[in-house]
């Protein structure tokens, strides 16, 4: 983990700093976990509650899903830490290529 790097093998070095960092990390994880559960509830509610049109529900659920994926990647899989630049570059380039392909198959294949 990027925030646990140390020049010494002695676990007592920078103990205070590392504890503070870990506590902060824990706070982020709990916070994003709570938000993710909340978003899931919202998604269920959007479908469950009568009166919303499909044109409202579908984009909202997709948006919530995207936010959850970002939480998952950045907070639980540590992509917000340093040294993940290359990973992010390849992930998003792959995503772009994939989405363009999907877009093409939805639009310009004579259907």
């Amino acid at each position: 983990m990027a925030n646990e790097q140390s020049n010494s093998a002695n676990p007592n070095v920078d103990l205070k700093y590392r504890r503070k960092k870990n506590a902060e990390e824990m706070k982020h994880q709990v916070l994003s976990f709570t938000l993710m559960i909340f978003f899931t509830l919202l998604a269920f509610a959007a479908v469950g509650i009568e009166g919303f049109s499909h044109w409202f529900i579908k984009p909202v659920i997709l948006l919530l899903a995207v936010v959850q994926v970002i939480f998952q990647l950045y907070y639980f899989m540590h992509m917000k830490h340093k040294g993940h630049g290359t990973i992010a570059l390849f992930l998003f380039s792959g995503l772009a290529v994939g989405l363009i392909t999907v877009l093409v198959f939805l639009t310009i294949v004579w259907i």
Partner: protein, 623 residues
């Protein structure tokens, strides 16, 4: 390690190459097999030109002509250009970044054998009832109706060799990201390494669409599915898209390494730092990105509609910008340099006007309304031969001449090299320049003959004469290689005298562990930096220590050969033969059995001990 050379028998040498995981030997394997397929593809090209030399010729029949033109394109792209590019990458990239091998030596070998068996499988179609005959693009509307097994050979052969390419691409990505020597930052990487990096990323993203397309085609042809069959509710345009989503990045996969090779050559023989290094890197990456957003320019006449055509036309023209940046940077590298016209430099200088002409016709083709006129004519044939032969092949010939001493420790003859260069270059322009005009006059591509009195006679004759000149040039090169290998006069670390990058700081050919101590990189063109400070060699970045090396293994070959065997079963399965299922099972058992052995057998490699690395001259303490 013994200090005297062991003379090995032929059998031992062969076994050594079959089991090797050393990137330098795999480079030689790629070079030999790529060279072989290049000759086969070249012969097919000669047959095409002989057939078209005079009107109404009957040198080959119409059906056979279709097979030849399909196999010429497929062989040249997948089985000649790709492996030759990989040959140079394997030979050079680990040395350029100061690594002892690629990240996954076993996978490197697996990638080669998959490519090799796929290529052999595809070419066996000649002897087993006819080659594929629907063009290298193999459009579904045509290929689904092709008789015989030709297309099946195409699908299965390319699928197997495609796995190999994908594996090789991933391997280079991991190598370049993780295994650079201390001090080798991204912005100190030589341009060839940069282009390999971008190309590997393109391979990673471009080959999956091809794999998907080939799988769908395989199910359509062999197992009765209807993905592309319009009459059964399929959609034939899907193949076109999948093929070109792969196919357009593929042409950048071929040209970018050539750009990288030329960048090295221009800097080396102008004896000057590459002009605009960072803009070169930027341009390479930008070409990589844009390469994914232009594929539909191959499909302007398919009927995608004016909006799609306009978007793809503009995106295509945008690629001229980074390419133009590169062209001008090369010219500025030469400007004011102390230019030395060696054979590689001749290729590099000839490449600039040749490739620019191909680029200009590219812009003409990118303009969608005009493309309706050019489409499927010899104008297109002229265009892509100008960029592929004038770019990729000149690049590979330059690269092979340039890196030959590093790969084999001998110098190719300059005199014979110049004969090859001039005959090939003149032959090339003779062959393809006139084809622009044949195309504009209305000569269609992929048609096996033409009628008299249409004004095509002289042009086609000139074109055929040019093709023979090119063949002569290649022949001289083969003779050159044979003479050089027989003479076997060994050269030192830096035979060109002006090497700039790390590979020239170590012996030619390098020892199997490449670097005794990993070098410390202190700037762009690290060897040049040291030379300018009056040093003869690199400063080491680490004390002399044991070197961990991977063991050789025959398993990559058996994994690949299993797929090769299984492919025969899949191919003949639709003929209701009883032996096809057992063959498929046996083949897959060989593949998965080998993979199982690889998984459960512990193979930790071995160490070269520090004591064995020291000799009287070199105690390893240089810093």
């Amino acid at each position: 390690m013994s200090t005297y050379a062991n003379k090995k028998g032929f059998g031992a040498t062969l076994w050594d190459y079959l089991t090797t995981v050393d990137h330098k030997k795999i480079a030689i394997l790629y070079l030999i097999s790529g060279g072989l397929f290049f000759v086969i593809g070249g012969l097919e090209a000669m047959f095409i030109r002989i057939q078209l030399a005079i009107p109404n010729n009957d040198f080959v029949s119409a059906g056979f002509y279709n097979e030849i033109l399909t196999m010429h394109g497929t062989t040249m792209i997948f089985l000649a250009a790709m492996p030759l590019v990989f040959a140079v990458m394997n030979a050079v990239v680990p040395l350029q970044i100061g690594a002892r091998d690629v990240a996954f030596p076993f996978l490197n070998s697996l990638g080669f054998w998959l490519f090799f068996f796929g290529g052999v499988f595809l070419n066996l179609s000649w002897f087993l009832g006819g080659a594929p005959d629907a063009g290298w693009t193999s459009y579904a509307s045509l290929s689904l109706h092709s008789e015989g097994h030709g297309i099946d050979f195409y699908v299965l052969g390319l699928q197997i060799s495609g796995f190999g390419t994908l594996i090789a691409g991933i391997n280079f990505l991991v190598t370049i990201i993780n295994m650079r020597a201390p001090g080798m930052t991204y912005m100190r990487m030589p341009l060839f390494t940069w282009s390999t990096f971008v190309v590997s990323a393109l391979i990673l993203f471009a080959f999956p669409p091809l794999t998907v397309g080939l799988v769908l085609m395989m199910f359509d042809r062999m197992f009765g599915a209807n993905f592309f069959d319009v009459a059964a509710g399929g959609n034939t345009i899907i193949w076109e898209h999948l093929f070109w989503i792969f196919g357009h990045p593929e042409v950048y996969i071929l040209i970018l390494p050539a750009f990288g090779i030329f960048s090295e050559i221009f800097a080396t023989f102008s004896r000057k730092r590459l002009f605009g290094y960072s803009s070169m890197v930027f341009a390479t990456v930008l070409i990589g990105f844009l390469g994914f957003m232009v594929w539909a320019h191959h499909m302007f006449t398919t009927g995608l509609g004016p909006i799609a055509n306009a978007i793809f036309a503009v995106a295509t023209m945008a690629i001229a910008v980074p390419t133009g940046i590169k062209i001008f940077n090369w010219i500025f590298t030469m400007w004011g340099g102390s230019v030395k016209f060696t054979v590689p430099m001749l290729y590099a200088v000839a490449f600039i006007p040749t490739f620019t002409m191909g680029g200009v016709t590219g812009i003409m083709l990118a303009s969608a309304p005009a493309d309706y006129q050019y489409h499927d004519s010899y104008f297109v044939v002229a265009h892509f031969h100008y960029v592929i032969v004038g770019g990729v092949v000149l690049g590979l010939l330059a690269g092979i001449n340039f890196y030959w001493p590093k790969m084999f420790g001998t110098m190719l003859s300059e005199k014979l090299g110049q004969i090859t260069f001039w005959t090939f270059l003149i032959g090339f322009h003779l062959t393809f320049f006139i084809q622009h005009f044949l195309g504009l006059m209305g000569m269609p591509r992929r048609v096996f003959t033409f009628l008299d009195d249409q004004g095509f006679n002289t042009g086609n004759m000139i074109s055929t004469v040019g093709a023979f000149l090119m063949a002569f040039g290649v022949l001289v090169m083969v003779i050159n290689i044979i003479i050089t290998s027989v003479k076997n006069e060994k050269v030192g670390n830096d035979p060109w005298g002006d090497g700039r990058t790390l590979e020239w700081a170590i012996p030619s050919p390098p020892p199997f562990y490449n670097f005794k101590q990993l070098p410390l990189v202190r700037g762009l063109d690290p060897y040049w930096v040291e030379k300018m400070e009056g040093k003869k060699e690199m400063t080491p970045a680490e004390p002399l220590g044991d070197i961990h090396m991977p063991n050789s293994s025959i398993l990559p070959l058996t994994i690949a050969s299993g797929l090769f065997i299984a492919a025969f079963g899949a191919l003949y399965h639709m003929d209701d033969k009883t032996w096809t299922l057992p063959i498929m099972i046996v083949g897959l058992l060989v593949t998965f059995g080998s993979m199982f052995i690889r998984s459960v057998k512990d193979d930790h490699g071995y160490h070269i001990h520090k004591e064995d690395l020291m000799d009287d001259k070199d105690k390893g303490g240089k810093a």
